[in-house]
């Protein structure tokens, strides 16, 4: 497996030396595979957001190294901005970062900072807008006139337009309705396939993880608890429950069926997968 981003024995401590000192990450080593969508799960306060902020150099590890393509991102602290163009970070509730007069120029903020030519910027704005589902007429509106879901899309487009190799999203679908979720996450899936980039997706929704991710990293109490493919992780429902997480609802149903003597096999973490497994069982039984 080829890794694009890697954390080596990384620790991070907040407010070191004050009464508020708190260890957010404790000796974490984890690697993210190139060209895949890796999901990052863990209950609130498990260190997900801290980890995400370390990936593009917003935070500097208290100990350990963050490697991008095998190079320490803090090797030249003055060039950390270059890392931020390569590892695009969409923060939690990113809509608060919108500020410009039009959607178009807000999406163009990152590419302008990167110093691209005007034509190049225009191309990228159009492309990013298409991926997240922003129509041409929306581009000339003020971002403050849009609805919450549309603002979210604009904010994500602002990062996508920088053309990062790795796109990190912290709960991109939080607070959106199911349709909005599908559109945004589905758009990202297409984006990965078309551009062959890497995505790291933080989410609380096990269903989203099962549907859109290839690999999963489970965090618990400032440490990496498990890593593996979606299938590996979601087949151990008891282990996830032990750290306060659920498997997708459909996996629970599948597990229940298995425990009652119906041997299902296959991708037992998506509705489609379980449906196929049940159909296979019924046809097999009829034979």
């Amino acid at each position: 497996m080829s890794e694009i981003l890697k954390l080596e024995n990384v620790s991070y401590v907040y407010s070191k030396g004050t009464p508020f000192e708190k260890v957010a990450l404790n000796n974490v080593s984890v690697a993210f595979e190139r060209g895949k969508i890796t999901g990052l799960i863990g209950h609130t306060g498990s260190g997900k957001s801290t980890l995400v902020n370390l990936l593009n150099g917003l935070y500097k590890p208290t100990e350990g190294r963050v490697l991008l393509d095998g190079e320490d991102i803090w090797a030249k602290p003055k060039e950390i901005a270059k890392v931020r163009y390569r590892v695009g970070l969409v923060m939690q509730y990113p809509e608060y970062q919108l500020f410009d007069e039009t959607v178009r120029s807000d999406i163009g903020f990152g590419p302008r900072n990167r110093g691209l030519s005007r034509e190049e910027i225009d191309v990228r704005i159009k492309e990013a807008a298409r991926f997240v589902g922003i129509t041409d007429e929306m581009l000339d509106k003020s971002p403050f006139d849009l609805s919450g879901g549309q603002k979210r899309r604009v904010a994500i487009a602002g990062i996508v337009a920088m053309g990062p190799d790795v796109l990190v999203l912290d709960e991109p679908a939080a607070g959106l309705d199911p349709k909005g979720r599908r559109e945004i996450l589905g758009g990202l899936r297409r984006y990965v396939e078309e551009k062959n980039i890497t995505i790291i997706l933080v989410s609380h929704s096990m269903e989203d993880m099962a549907l859109y991710c290839d690999n999963v990293v489970v965090m618990n109490r400032a440490e990496v608890f498990r890593t593996g493919t979606v299938r590996e992780i979601f087949s151990e429902s008891g282990v996830l429950a032990s750290v306060g997480l659920d498997v997708p609802g459909i996996s629970g149903i599948a597990a229940e069926l298995i425990s009652r003597g119906i041997p299902l096999e296959g991708e037992l973490y998506t509705v489609e997968g379980v449906k196929d497994a049940i159909l296979r069982y019924i046809r097999g039984g009829a034979r």
């Binding site: 931020r84 923060m91 970062q97 919108l98 920088m162």
Partner: protein, 286 residues
């Protein structure tokens, strides 16, 4: 990081200083400020420094935290000190005379006193008020102290409420600023290089979201308060009633005595003749 700023931050704890009635602490702070501005000789400053050290020791707040609170004003301190050294004319012969610069003993003493005054001002007021008093009890104390003004129809409760809301939202605002800065940094914004105009322009992507969200939050807060039928101080009861205790009196007497002593030292003309070097250093007045 911005959140490392400790000036004006409350450190929860159970020390005797934390337990003091907030009204006492406000009065003590006012007395100390008066004393600090009256202080003009080494003995007075020694007394005040001692008081500050005692407060720090009692509060059990680490010395490092207090140093960090002073750090942001070091440049101002140095600036005033240098100005004082250069601009003060003394009576005797100058210590250093060079081109248009002449430095007198008085200048150096005044610079030291000035710096000490600013540091003490910050340390003592923040020890008494912000570090050891939660914003809620602080505004409670203030409201209680100002309540006589209600007679002349000053909306004391409203002011206290506004103040507690303002104080309450300082950490939120700091956190939010940091969040927005991080978001814009992730988009390649650069706040730390370029000339003055470039840096000012770089602030726009931070200020606009900050203002927008502040307005939004104010509106939400107002709605939330109305939903809970907030209507000011009419018939409002308090969960914690403020009550002076023995320790309040002890503290009050101690600080009042120090303040009185310092005022006396500074306004009384010394009648007795200088008994030598020790007197000179201790009571050298500026």
């Amino acid at each position: 990081m911005i959140s490392d700023i400790t000036l004006g931050q409350f450190f929860p704890g159970y020390s005797p200083l934390h337990k003091l009635d907030p009204r006492t602490k406000i009065i003590l702070a006012v007395l100390s400020i008066v004393a600090i501005f009256f202080a003009n000789n080494a003995v007075s400053f020694a007394l005040l420094t001692l008081a500050a050290v005692v407060m720090i020791a009692i509060s059990r707040i680490s010395f490092k935290v207090i140093l960090r609170g002073i750090r942001p004003i070091i440049i101002i301190l140095l600036f005033t000190a240098v100005l004082n050294i250069l601009m003060t004319d003394g009576k005797g012969t100058p210590l250093v005379e060079f081109w248009i610069i002449s430095i007198y003993t008085e200048g150096i003493v005044r610079a030291v006193f000035m710096a000490l005054r600013v540091v003490l001002l910050i340390v003592i007021t923040s020890m008494l008020l912000t570090y050891t008093t939660s914003p809620i009890s602080l505004t409670d104390g203030l409201e209680s102290l100002l309540s006589p003004l209600k007679v002349i129809r000053v909306p004391v409760h409203t002011f206290a409420m506004m103040m507690s809301i303002a104080l309450r939202f300082i950490p939120t605002l700091i956190e939010e600023t940091e969040k927005i800065m991080n978001a814009q940094k992730s988009r390649g914004a650069d706040f730390s290089s370029g000339g003055l105009i470039k840096r000012a322009k770089a602030l726009i992507p931070i200020l606009i979201p900050l203002i927008v969200s502040s307005f939004k939050r104010a509106e939400e807060l107002a709605t939330a308060m109305e939903c809970r039928c907030y209507r000011g101080d009419k018939n409002r009861t308090k969960l914690v009633k403020l009550q002076f205790k023995g320790r309040d009196i002890v503290w009050f007497l101690a600080i009042a005595a120090i303040t009185a002593g310092i005022i006396l030292l500074s306004i009384l003309p010394y009648k007795f003749v200088s008994p030598g070097i020790i007197y000179d250093i201790a009571f050298f007045k500026i």
